[in-house]
């Protein structure tokens, strides 16, 4: 948007929304919505709490482990689907079901199978992110220009060279897009899962805050999660931008 000849970047409209929030909060219009400023104060306190830090650290660790596993899984499944018709038919069916199913309803079952520790959270991350990574990788593999593959073959590339020197790089933009989507889904999955079973302190904090009408803290926790999700996904977005230039150049 341009005002008085200056271009105002879109993110600045968020400031308007925040201002609106502050006003609604100050006017005390809805008791579940305290002013943004007091939420921010609580946020500063929140991130100093031991139980929050422990929960955040545990979640973060599980995230890194879970995402690593689902990238390996997802990319492999995507490549297998992209290269074999049968695998595509069989795996594709399951991947599609899991990618669109309300997996949250499975989280209580996961707890049963994987215990009350970190494993369950890691599995949640994997369960929520693998499928979309697989689907995007598959799209990426299908998207690879056949002439690039033929080029590799005509210069005598081995299967391994083909995979590591051509196919992987050619599908990279989609893979990254998939990883970003998977990440967003995993954050959502963890939050939903924790609301449903609350193995880590995150879900517990949400419950405590809402049960005790501590809405400042509640929103502070929510905002923290939002920021975390946005930071994570913009980090990958930045990586995507770096490979975007050739994604655009592809035919």
């Amino acid at each position: 948007m341009v005002v008085f000849g200056t271009r105002i970047p879109p993110v600045f409209s968020l400031l308007i929304w925040i201002a609106l929030w502050e006003i609604v909060g100050q006017l005390d219009l809805a008791f579940i919505l305290p002013p943004f400023s007091s939420v921010m104060q609580e946020l500063v306190l929140l991130i100093q709490r031991n139980d929050f830090q422990a929960a955040a650290w545990l979640t973060f660790q599980s995230f890194v482990i879970g995402m690593t596993i689902s990238i390996v899984f997802g990319v492999s499944i995507g490549f297998i689907m992209g290269t074999s018709k049968i695998a595509n038919g069989v795996l594709g069916m399951w991947v599609n079901i899991f990618a669109s199913a309300p997996l949250s309803s499975l989280v209580p079952i996961l707890m049963l199978l994987f215990g009350l520790g970190q494993t369950t959270i890691v599995v949640t991350v994997v369960l929520f992110s693998t499928w979309i990574i697989a689907l995007d990788t598959y799209a990426g593999v299908r998207h690879i220009s056949p002439s690039l593959v033929e080029m590799g073959r005509s210069f005598g590339a081995s299967r391994f060279q083909m995979l590591t020197k051509i196919l992987f790089w050619a599908a990279l933009p989609e893979i990254l897009a998939g990883v970003r989507m998977g990440l967003i889904r995993a954050v959502k999955g963890i939050v939903i899962g924790q609301l449903l079973v609350s193995v880590v302190a995150l879900g517990r904090l949400f419950r405590t805050f809402s049960d005790n009408f501590q809405f400042e803290q509640f929103w502070a926790l929510t905002v923290t999660l939002f920021i975390f999700a946005l930071l994570f996904s913009s980090a990958i977005g930045w990586l995507e931008q770096r490979v975007e230039y050739y994604a655009k150049a592809r035919i």
């Binding site: 005509s154 210069f155 005598g156 060279q161 020197k165 050739y246």
Partner: protein
């Protein structure tokens, strides 16, 4: 100009054919019959063009020669020996260039050698040489998306030249660049090939281009592709481009081919 009958190789060519195809038939599926019993010889050091209406099987034939497609029946011979699959004596130049978007011009040109694990230093020197040769000196560290279509095709050509194959296979190499660039490219290609001793097999839709660049033109009939006729344009290639384009033989050949092909169009 001589229009020889199909299958009847000119005696001179028969003595030294670098590539031969015998009884090639190709079905993509039971009801897609792309090529039917094609026999052809490609004389060493000459430029042969495959010409024909759209969908007649030109690309199919070229890919079979390259070893990228298996024929349903028939053999491909290189230097008299039957071959299966791709081989270092044949290099492909792609219509859509097939450059690695994430690699620089230098790495792209050296890529064929990278795959055969040649020493990095050596292959880059060689790549640089061919980058100069196709007139791209100074662009070594650019990425494909920073180049114009014509320049990208030159990178693809340099890559094929750099692996030092005897046979260059080109599938409509100029169709993705604009007309004026294309015309320039044709002239440059001829100049370049005059120095290198290459055999070129070239697919095009352009009758003028075919006649202008080739020693031998193979005309295919509509699907299933068969050899319709083989034409050897006969005019001196020593004249300058403009003169060639006014040459009576040149114009007659173009005209004869056009008269032949236009009946296949919708």
């Amino acid at each position: 100009m001589s229009v020889s009958a199909a299958l009847d190789n000119s005696p001179k060519a028969a003595t030294d054919d670098i590539v031969e195809v015998r009884n090639i038939t190709k079905y993509y599926s039971p009801d897609v019959h792309a090529l039917s019993n094609v026999n052809l010889s490609f004389p060493r050091g000459q430029m042969t063009t495959l010409l024909g209406p759209s969908g007649c099987g030109k690309t199919t034939l070229l890919k079979i020669i390259a070893g990228l497609l298996e024929p349903t029946e028939g053999d491909v011979l290189v230097n008299g020996k039957q071959v299966h699959g791709t081989g270092p004596e044949r290099a492909f130049v792609f219509q859509d260039f097939a450059l690695l978007p994430w690699a620089t011009v230098l790495r792209n040109v050296a890529f064929g050698m990278e795959l055969t694990k040649q020493d990095k230093r050596e292959r880059e020197d060689r790549a640089r040489h061919y980058i100069n040769e196709v007139g791209l000196a100074g662009f070594e560290n650019k990425y494909p998306h920073e180049l114009s279509g014509g320049m990208r095709q030159r990178v693809g050509l340099a890559r094929a030249l750099a692996v030092n194959s005897d046979v260059l296979l080109m599938d409509e190499p100029f169709s993705a660049v604009d007309e004026q660039t294309r015309r320039k490219f044709q002239e440059d290609l001829l100049a370049l090939l005059a120095n290198e001793n290459k055999t070129v097999i070239f697919v095009t839709h352009s009758i003028e281009e075919a006649v202008y660049v080739s020693d031998q033109i193979v005309m295919l009939s509509p699907r299933p592709g068969r050899i319709h006729s083989i034409i050897r344009p006969e005019f001196s290639r020593d004249a300058d481009p403009d003169e060639i384009r006014r040459d009576k033989n040149y114009l007659d050949t173009v005209e004869a081919i056009w008269a032949d092909l236009r009946k296949y169009l919708d």
